[in-house]
Point group: C2
Chain length 123, copies 2
C-alpha cells in the first residue's frame, strides 16, 4: 500500500479538533495567527531551522547566512514568528539566540491532529 | 528528501519534518500556501465545519447561514480554501456541495507532526 493510499485510508477515520467538530470562534481566533505566521516559505524554513538545530537554539548570525535574503528581511520574519509566539529570543552580547516554543508548536499540532497513519499505528 | 519520503520515514520514527530537520526550499514552497489559506479565522471555521460535517460534505446553503458574514465573503473564503486544495466542491442543481480533501490535510498534519503526547507514546 502506498503512502498516499495509507493516508487516504487513515483519513477516513481521522479525528482531530480541526476535522472532528466545528472550531469555535475563539479557537479559530487563537489559531489563525499561528497559521498566518507560517504562511511564508522563508518563515517556515526559519522556524524549521531553529526548531531542528542541535542544542535547540540558533544564533541569528547563523540564520542570516543560511538564506538568500537580506538580514533586514530575516529580522522581519523572525519578528513575525516571535510575535506569534512560535519562537523566543535572548540577546547575549552582540547576538540574539533563538529557540522554538514547543508549547505553541504543540498547540498547532494538537489542532491539526496527528497524520492519519500515526493514529492508525497507535490505535 | 521529499515530503512524501519524509512521511514514509516518519512512519517509523515520528519525527516531525518541521522540527526534526530544516525544511527544503521546495518543501516550504509547497506547504506555505496551505498555511496561508488557513490564516483566517473564518476560513479555519469553514474548513472545520466542512471536514466535521456528518456525511463528509456540506451544501453551501448551510455554510452561509452558519456565519455572521455576507454570502459573497463566504464564497471568497471557500474559493481560497479550494484553490489551496484543502476542499473540493461539486455543483448539483442549484447548490455547490463541499467536502474536505483528506490527503492535503494529512500532508499538513505530517509536516507539523504529532502533538508531543502522541510522539511520546510512539517513540
Amino acid at each position: 500500500m502506498s503512502i498516499q493510499d495509507r493516508l487516504a485510508a487513515g483519513a477516513a477515520t481521522w479525528c482531530a479538533p480541526l476535522t472532528c467538530k466545528p472550531l469555535s470562534e475563539d479557537e479559530a481566533a487563537e489559531i489563525a495567527p499561528l497559521f498566518k505566521a507560517l504562511a511564508d516559505p522563508v518563515r517556515l524554513r526559519l522556524l524549521s531551522l531553529i526548531a531542528s538545530h542541535e542544542g535547540g537554539e540558533v544564533c541569528v548570525c547563523d540564520l542570516t547566512v543560511a538564506f538568500d535574503v537580506t538580514p533586514p528581511t530575516i529580522s522581519h520574519h523572525l519578528k513575525v514568528l516571535r510575535q506569534a509566539g512560535l519562537i523566543e529570543g535572548d540577546r547575549r552580547g552582540t547576538w540574539v539566540y533563538y529557540r522554538a516554543n514547543p508549547e505553541v508548536l504543540a498547540k498547532l499540532a494538537a489542532v491539526i491532529g496527528p497524520a492519519p497513519a500515526v493514529q492508525a499505528g497507535t490505535a
